[in-house]
Symmetry: C2
Subunit: 329 residues, 2 copies
């Protein structure tokens, strides 16, 4: 078997190892299919529902793999992370299992659900102003003061390898079905999830076409993949995809993604809202806006999927009840 990604910062073997590390604690999420979705998309679609993961998103996988790799003599200092919400919960839940202290730097406009759940796992939450303060600087200061280990949300090989277990499970389940995936789509903010997924999928299915999915405007991966180098998006303001607002792809993640991804797709907030409503009504799944971005792109006809076997990663389901009610009304 060729391993096209063996020279990259994260290898399929790193993901195999991560799978062993996270197995006792992460949920082995199923691969789902729905006749009504196949009809709507005009092709066979398989969903990887990471909202069913511990903490309600895939982020637990990478966080647990990263924390498990911290040397024992550093455990006492605990961990610090910055995150708009899902990485926060992943780190907090992993730290609780490993008996480590966790401090999370979160934007003050993060969904209440995400803030409350992060505290619920026993982490200390420090809020900052998204427009005026530098979350990395705040996190570095806390790390320095406490001897804590900084857990980056995506630009870390252990984090990417942990997220790659999502792709490894997809590959295993598709192999068990005897169906080769033609297209695999995963949401991208900093790009850790799609990098890990691409590494695992390409190891088993080198012909598969991998795509990042982003909110319209917040399309730094789509731009960077076109340009062949890291480029920031030009968006100002907000998107309902609160989890997908990173300004520019990560350095390590883009080293992977520039090699393994075909291109990036986007969807508008209106298309994302429609996808969240479709998932509620027809799939009976609670997907947060950012988690539904790939499904939104598919349903909006932004992926040339006809006749192809398409896998879409639904990355999380942590959405405030009032926004959810509005989107499904």
């Amino acid at each position: 078997m060729t391993e096209p990604s063996s020279a990259l910062p994260v290898t399929p073997s790193d993901i195999d190892l991560a799978a062993r590390v996270v197995a006792p604690f992460a949920v082995r999420t199923p691969l789902l299919s729905f006749p009504i979705l196949d009809e709507r998309a005009g092709t066979r679609v398989f969903l990887k529902p990471e909202m069913l993961q511990r903490t309600g998103s895939f982020k637990f996988r990478g966080a647990f793999n990263r924390l498990s790799a911290i040397p024992r003599d550093k455990f006492g200092g605990g961990v610090v992370a910055y995150s708009s919400g899902n990485h926060a919960q992943g780190v907090a839940a992993a730290a609780k299992i490993l008996n480590m202290r966790a401090t999370i730097v979160m934007p003050s406009d993060a969904p209440m659900t995400k803030r409350e759940r992060t505290k619920g796992y026993g982490a200390e939450v420090v809020l900052y102003d998204r427009d005026r303060e530098d979350r990395e600087a705040i996190a570095h200061e806390i790390a320095g003061k406490r001897g804590a280990t900084l857990v980056r949300p995506y630009d870390d090989p252990f984090v990417i390898a942990g997220q790659g277990t999502v792709g490894r499970e997809i590959a295993e389940d598709m192999a068990a079905l005897g169906i080769a995936p033609d297209i695999v789509v995963a949401p991208a903010s900093g790009g850790g999830l799609v990098a890990g997924v691409a590494t695992a999928i390409k190891a088993r299915y080198p012909q598969a076409v991998l795509m990042s999915a982003e909110p319209e405007g917040f399309d730094d991966h789509a731009r960077s993949l076109r340009a062949g180098k890291r480029e920031a998006h030009h968006a100002e303001g907000r998107t309902i995809c609160d989890a997908l607002m990173a300004a520019i792809p990560g350095e390590i993640t883009f080293a992977v993604n520039s090699k393994l991804l075909s291109h990036g797709v986007t969807a508008s907030d209106a298309e994302v809202g429609a996808a969240v409503g479709f998932a509620y009504r027809e799939l009976k799944l609670v997907v947060e806006p950012g988690g539904a971005i790939g499904l939104a792109a598919l349903l909006a006809g932004r992926i040339d999927a006809r006749g192809k076997n398409v896998v879409i990663v639904l990355s999380g389901g942590n959405v405030d009840a009032d926004l959810f009610a509005k989107l499904v009304a």
Copy 2:
């Protein structure tokens, strides 16, 4: 292997056959587990999420198995059914696949979601007044006029065998995990689902304790199981569990359930609402009130589950968006 139910109106072999009939069209739903649910319940819990089934509830299984058994020379007359909503959709979707005409008699207060979805499958919907009209009489009249086959919602061996495929899949998946289920709970209205599930589970796990779950007041199964004979419930008015309002267990279903079930459990509407909210927040699953009745009983401490391996059937997810928003707020 002992087959305690081999002398009953539905046998494990009937369910094996039903599994072959429905396999090309029904979704093989996974068995899910969630660390947060295990923690909350203080034991290992496995959920069978039938809201992920075609039409959003288990009812498609029984309906498709029943319609497939109609002699070819009766296909032209189509089918007629009465239902508060989920059986309606199951029959309508099965009829569409089999190219049969379907007429469904539904109460005028059935959730709009269920009425609209039934029409969406191409069925003709005839509304009746739940308090003043006799749905069976209306259905019989239509059946007589059109030469249509009446598809009963539960008191039919083919329907029960179809619903039994839920239990057959649970037994297969638990066997694959190497874990024997100690307790299996399924919602009961007419009792077809729990009868089929009990038949399949008991065939493989004779020691398993089977329970029906009903809304408080609408406890005809709990009463009947205590009395050893079919007894109606004494409730007046409504419950939010619109799918679980049948007045008395079915004759055929009770012949099965009186032999195979241990007893019935109940939960209040408030407990059901809390379970729907828990499923939204923590499991990221859309469960309709009636579908959450077993989970509600578990979370409310109404099942002596500690240290036991518990399987709960979540039977459906067809809930109006405004009620859902209220329950998860």
